[in-house]
Subunit: 439 residues, 2 copies
């Protein structure tokens, strides 16, 4: 028979099972945090009608999207979790309680050329609050606080940098350049990647004078506490947009203080790529010895469902770059691989004790102990080798005497310590071990 070479599509993320165990642990920590903050889970389909997904492409270009027809149905694989959320909320607006707080952790698809750190299939991890007609700035603070809390739950340092688009937006209005504000924001968003002279040149192309361009770029260097920011910009201009931006920043700061948020600063250089943000914007950075790595963010959008319904539904959300985060943590040896054993206890049988050992395995599993028996290996030596290869924590060597006496020699494979114990004592020992590791 002709064999097909087994291979995986390029740029599709796939973990080995032991890594997957760690990734699941990471996800379940974050999920728990979302639930404690009263966000509800949502799991929308991977496929949607093309006209739905393409109604608002959020800056993802159509050529990146997996789109195809089957029968006469034109469909796409989702490229983010925000458009499906908008579709869901618009469809069910009469059944949901608002503000609607939902989280979704799921795979999204972007058929771009895979580069280092970029995938064609990867996880997004989003939490959003959607209001009906109005939504208080307290919700913005809640999302920022949630971001902080997720990293706290993971025992990771984070710094959140916050701005409000209406501040720079108001200034751009005062220059009478609001018709090209999207283009201006795109340039400002690239300031850390392109030389300043290039940015000035690009802003001048949009009709700004030299001094206007310099002033705008200078403004993005503003950062610190809210007092620092206000001192620098409070009298910058007088239009309504600007004033609203300042008021929102003040209200946000008050709520953040009430929530007892700790790891944030204000920074007018934060723009966020997506042009649907209209107010609060923030970015999270992993704080790590020397490095500072962008790891997600979020912001306020004035109208989530505008393409699907006339009802106004403002929202605010946060997103953690979970695939990226996992890759970083794996490289930094963040995970205590000892605490996530595939097997707590391996029972080493002899031919004549196989049936008794299977019975023991079953009894340990009944007590929620991850126990296994290497029935496939023929010799004692090969069974012990197997236990080593699988990094088993404890081994129980069970011959006929042990079965008769109902007392077993438990061997710690890391320390080589041995103890004679009863079934109940072994269960207790392994469970108390586990409690220790979880602390």
């Amino acid at each position: 028979m002709n064999l097909t070479t087994p291979r995986k599509l390029n740029g599709f993320w796939e973990l080995m099972p032991k890594e997957e165990l760690l990734f699941e642990k990471l996800l379940s920590n974050i999920k728990e945090t979302f639930k404690q903050n009263c966000f509800l889970p949502l799991d929308t389909p991977v496929l949607e009608y093309s006209d739905i997904l393409l109604a608002k492409s959020n800056g993802v270009s159509e050529k990146e999207i997996y789109r195809f027809t089957k029968g006469d149905t034109d469909m796409c694989m989702r490229y983010d979790l925000t458009v499906p959320l908008a579709r869901f909320v618009a469809m069910h607006q009469n059944e949901l309680n608002f503000p609607f707080k939902r989280f979704q952790i799921g795979k999204v698809y972007r058929g771009e050329r895979p580069q280092k750190g970029r995938f064609r299939e990867f996880y997004q991890c989003d939490a959003d609050i959607i209001g009906s007609e109005t939504l208080s700035v307290v919700a913005d603070a809640e999302c920022i606080m949630l971001f902080e809390r997720c990293f706290k739950a993971l025992n990771l340092g984070v710094q959140i940098r916050i701005s409000n688009r209406k501040v720079l937006g108001g200034f751009i209005e005062s220059l009478k350049k609001e018709d090209v504000s999207t283009e201006i924001f795109i340039i400002l968003d690239k300031l850390d990647k392109i030389p300043k002279d290039d940015a000035v040149a690009q802003l001048k192309e949009l009709g700004l004078s030299d001094s206007q361009a310099e002033k705008l770029i200078g403004l993005t260097k503003t950062n610190g506490s809210l007092t620092d920011i206000l001192k620098k910009v409070e009298n910058l201009c007088e239009n309504e947009t600007f004033q609203k931006g300042i008021d929102e920043l003040k209200a946000l700061d008050r709520s953040l203080k009430s929530f007892d948020a700790k790891n944030y600063v204000y920074d007018l250089s934060v723009i966020r790529g997506h042009n649907y943000y209209t107010g609060t914007v923030f970015e999270g950075f992993l704080q790590n010895n020397e490095e500072t790595i962008a790891i997600g963010g979020g912001g306020r959008y004035e109208n989530l469902c505008g393409y699907f319904t006339e009802k106004k539904m403002p929202g605010v959300g946060m997103s953690i770059g979970i695939t990226r985060l996992f890759d970083i943590l794996l490289k930094q040896n963040y995970f205590d691989t000892n605490s996530l054993n595939e097997i707590d206890l391996a029972i080493i049988n002899f031919d004549e004790t196989l049936d008794d050992c299977l019975n023991l395995v079953s009894k340990f599993r009944e007590q929620k102990i991850n126990a296994d028996c290497f029935y496939e290996n023929q010799t004692f030596k090969s069974k012990m080798k197997e236990a080593n290869r699988r990094q088993v924590k404890y081994v129980l060597i069970v011959g006929e005497d042990e079965i008769k006496e109902k007392t077993y020699t438990l061997k710690n494979m890391q320390t080589s310590e041995q103890e004679k114990l009863s079934f109940e004592e072994i269960v207790e020992k392994i469970k108390s071990d586990r409690m220790q590791t979880q602390k």
Copy 2:
């Protein structure tokens, strides 16, 4: 602006958030059981190269499969989790420890016309054990025991009906009809759906005599304990296949008894649709007042990766129809919806105590209490309505006096009981409540 009507693709499963909470609970129970039985998680991509997925279509017809090209890549969405497992194992055969025990819970795609109870996107929930060259029948018993244990963890009654394909296969060989055995198995698999006379006629078309057809159909009526089965068939024929089938059944029974499995019987009518099964086959039924509902099953396949590698890798697996199971449980009011509150504690603030209440919310969340504050509602009345609508368990009404005295009136929304308590007492009360519900 022209609005796009928000709608979801036909036949794609999507739960409302409160149901999703229940579904996640179901999945996490099953996952825990898989892990206790030392199965490792795997999460393969949704997309695969078409030549990989179509190498072995396992009885899923090509027209059901979502297939498309992007650039010059021809790809498919997975229609099951078994072919991706085969691809993965063949690719990583030198890195994995065998027997390789993996589970995967994920969405699969079948573009058939959706009928009642059938979906185009649905979850599969699989656990398999893959051996290298050989795999003991103990592994078959482990998969059956795992099936039993999953239902025990869910507190659901189950009956598992077991057969071995080599028993009827051996008999078919003795009739010299092994060249049409696949076709014969397909007919026998339909016996509960078509009249017996039709089955006889179809078997005769394949060249069986009247009495051979009758005898074969009669054999499928054999069920009971292993002793019952052996009494009826032990001297049926003498070829090697048949004898191997009987030996495997005996070995399986011995291991099942060692594992202390309880909810199984033998039943030669169990065939399982997929023609890749070669030995043990089993089906699980939900035991439920009067109804008996098929809810999954599994079996032994002699060579998982035959299309991808020359190395022989026998396997045995089990699969739970989790989407179907959830739908049934939802209809049967299986879930205690009270135990899965979106919100444990709603803090009802007045305008002047908003900031203090946000601070309290934050402190409760820090203690892993799902607390929330309805800052969006303007009046006290609308806040209380909100608490009712969201089926909040406890409410804390917090005015300026409460803040000053640091003592709060906790109201149980189900019983209307009220108590004056400190922060620490409230935390303790809600946590002990939760322990009670989990029991």
